[in-house]
Subunit: 434 residues, 2 copies
């Protein structure tokens, strides 16, 4: 190695020094959209921000002040890398709604469940290893998998969620190709982005198939408590705890502001997760754990969850009604909870190409291509109904319909809506302006 | 790949599926000690917990309640992956104390500065790449470097910090061996664990040497504001901003409970850090940023920092006096700030072997071996004076002296204190009992 300083570029003097994995990192399509979504004149059907306006702010203000006054030096201090025992005990109680019987020892508190996703991937994935995931799958998970240089193989889902036969067939094929499959990443409840839920009948089959193929299940369940009308179905983990790492989050049943999520893992996996967690951030936020714990103990949090359910149900219904009224040319999934519906565009209409013109029409969504590892999916879009109020959602779908109809005319005239003209891209503001 | 489930073990069915990097993860010596340190009867000279009892709790309680009441839905929501602009602007002001002139665009807020360490390592290190670090170096950094399968080459320091000639010689040798050096990891101020500070004279030399060898500087500065009697020396970053990624933290100048730290990076590096950060945790805690920002705006935080300085100075002096009185057989560094002193044991006394007997004598420390990548260092121990009050520190050193003197007798009798008897290990409680 020479000792001259000639190997970077003028724009980036460190270009030659990045790790291989850094080449896979790129801004997600969702990320730039968060910026657009923040403009008041745009109806955003793009983001996944929970609607938390109904949280009891006065109650939480008093609770926060009390914790600071009486236990401030503890709440502002470092804590255990695994997370505090009082928080882990309460998480065990929360997971009973998913029919999970866990022990507090097997829970690791993380900086949002996103960090749990990152840590599980860190301890299992060598470059080139295969992760099996639904087609489509959560964009934030795909970013993590890319950072660890995994290969993702998608398995189709339908209105009842991941299709067991397709999973079995895919795992058998991968085994025949001698490819190392480490885990199935799945969102059984109110899927992001597909909006569907894995049926109760399919659940034990999925577990059995993974067990037979010696493939771990990574079960991501941020929306489980947010069924419009019902308590959650039993988690995959409830059928075979040792087969599954379960990820949970307070971001949707409370709010994301403290960044508190968790993993419930088989015992030996949990030990590695704690070590990885300590290396990554030392410990999760003590303040966040103490406030969340006090809230769960002293407030009727499940009634609050039911209030969230009612709000999301109203928003979801508004979106489905508007789709039926304004966009009969499309197809969409019918969610029974969560934040999203997955829309199939009319033949030939490309969601990615359409997006700048949708934004010009003051509505935003996420192109389906964000939810595939291989760039597929731009015949779909994800519409989220979590954040804007019902009337805004209807207005947004109306604007979207106008955009889609314009694209259909382009397709009819030109055979495609992927037209190349100088101003067909939108300049997004920097993410810090969100 | 067969599809049977025979490849794990009964204790860990997933043993065969871990990533290579997971093999490098192990519990640090410091970690198990946090548990021991929590027992009230033990004087812990082991941990690195800041002493934050003097924080203005009533003020912070009112401030917290006000933010929740007036801006709760914002404070509990997701935010920007890079961190909020108001927080980054204030961080730029805080870094002026280190003579750094930065732009808010080049700051990335992280989950404590530990996460910044993790992200920088993630984007630069391929397995086998070399990181150059002081001998000794921060145990939490070594854990991160191990997780990314880096090789660490230590460079000696003395009472004036990292030795420029040794750094130059090491980098030249590594270049001659054609080994890829990615960055120098260094703690210039009040070094953890060595307790020394890089002299002002050496600083431009270190920067010049790294620049000449095309090696990035990763400057970790958690303790910079905690000089006993003085404001900080200019940061390495202040000499050449594009040469250095600077890590800062509110954990020591305020408290660690919100997990808010930051990296200030050259522009192109910053872009990659934001992408890595978004994949890892989506965004840092909005609540933590809003409270920290309001505290910095509305409280005389620098006077609070000066109050911390006085407390640490008193504790540091108590420790040095007690060492002089009880342990004249040892040598130690003389810190002018921060949390630690680095003690050289009498010839033949092994710090790791001594530890169980020290704990039996109700005092805890960290063996110097924790601070080397290669297991060296057990002729040293790190003593921290940050947390116990001065009288307890003196009592701790008295107990430690009794232990050391016992070990010296063992060395005289047996030629070593590394004796193997059944009960020479301590059963540490689980970390969640800290």
């Amino acid at each position: 190695m020479s000792s001259t300083n000639q190997r970077g570029t003028r724009l980036d003097p460190w270009l030659d020094l990045y790790a291989d994995r850094a080449n896979g990192m790129r801004a997600s399509e969702v990320r730039s959209l968060f910026a657009v979504a923040s403009r008041p004149e745009v109806v955003s059907l793009a983001g996944g921000m929970p609607n938390i306006d109904s949280l009891p702010l006065d109650f939480l203000a008093d609770l926060s002040a009390k914790i600071m006054r009486t236990q401030g030096p503890k709440a502002l201090q470092y804590g255990s890398g695994q997370g505090e025992i009082f928080m882990r005990e309460q998480i065990v109680e929360v997971m009973r709604y998913d029919a999970i019987r866990a022990h507090p020892d097997d829970v690791v508190i993380t900086t949002g469940s996103q960090q749990a996703l990152d840590l599980v991937t860190e301890i299992f994935i060598n470059p080139g290893d295969v992760i099996v995931a639904e087609a489509p799958s959560y964009v934030g998970a795909l970013s993590v998998f890319r950072a660890y240089e995994a290969d993702v193989v998608h398995v189709p889902l339908d209105d009842d969620g991941l299709i067991p036969e397709e999973l079995d067939r895919t795992l058998t094929e991968l085994a025949a190709q001698n490819r190392q499959v480490k885990f199935l990443y799945t969102i059984p409840n109110y899927h992001n982005p597909a909006g569907v839920t894995l049926s109760e009948e399919r659940r034990p089959h999925i577990v059995e198939i993974c067990k037979r193929h010696h493939v771990l299940i990574l079960e991501d369940n941020p929306y489980g408590l947010l069924g419009f009308d019902s308590d959650p179905l039993p988690a995959l983990k409830s059928y075979d705890p040792d087969q599954t790492v379960y990820l949970g989050s307070f971001s949707k049943m409370f709010g994301p502001g403290y960044r508190i999520g968790w993993a419930a893992a088989p015992h030996a996996v949990r030990e590695k997760l704690v070590l990885a967690q300590e290396a990554a951030v030392l410990c999760p936020s003590m303040w966040g754990q103490m406030v969340m714990s006090e809230y769960l103990t002293t407030y009727d949090w499940y009634t609050q969850v039911k209030s969230f359910r009612g709000e999301y149900r109203a928003r979801g219904e508004a979106m489905l009604e508007a789709l039926a009224e304004y966009l009969p040319e499309c197809q969409w999934t019918t969610p029974t909870g969560g934040f999203y519906t997955w829309v199939t565009l009319p033949p030939g209409v490309d969601a990615k190409a359409m997006l700048p013109r949708a934004v010009t029409n003051l509505v935003a969504y996420v192109s389906g291509s964000a939810f595939y590892y291989d760039g597929r999916g731009s015949d779909h879009m994800r519409l989220s109904f979590c954040y804007p109020p019902p009337e805004r959602i209807k207005e947004g779908v109306r604007r979207l319909a106008r955009t889609v109809h314009g694209e259909m005319e382009l397709v009819e005239m030109l055979g495609t809506n992927r037209i190349d003209r100088p101003n067909n891209t939108v300049q997004f503001p920097a993410p810090d302006q969100v």
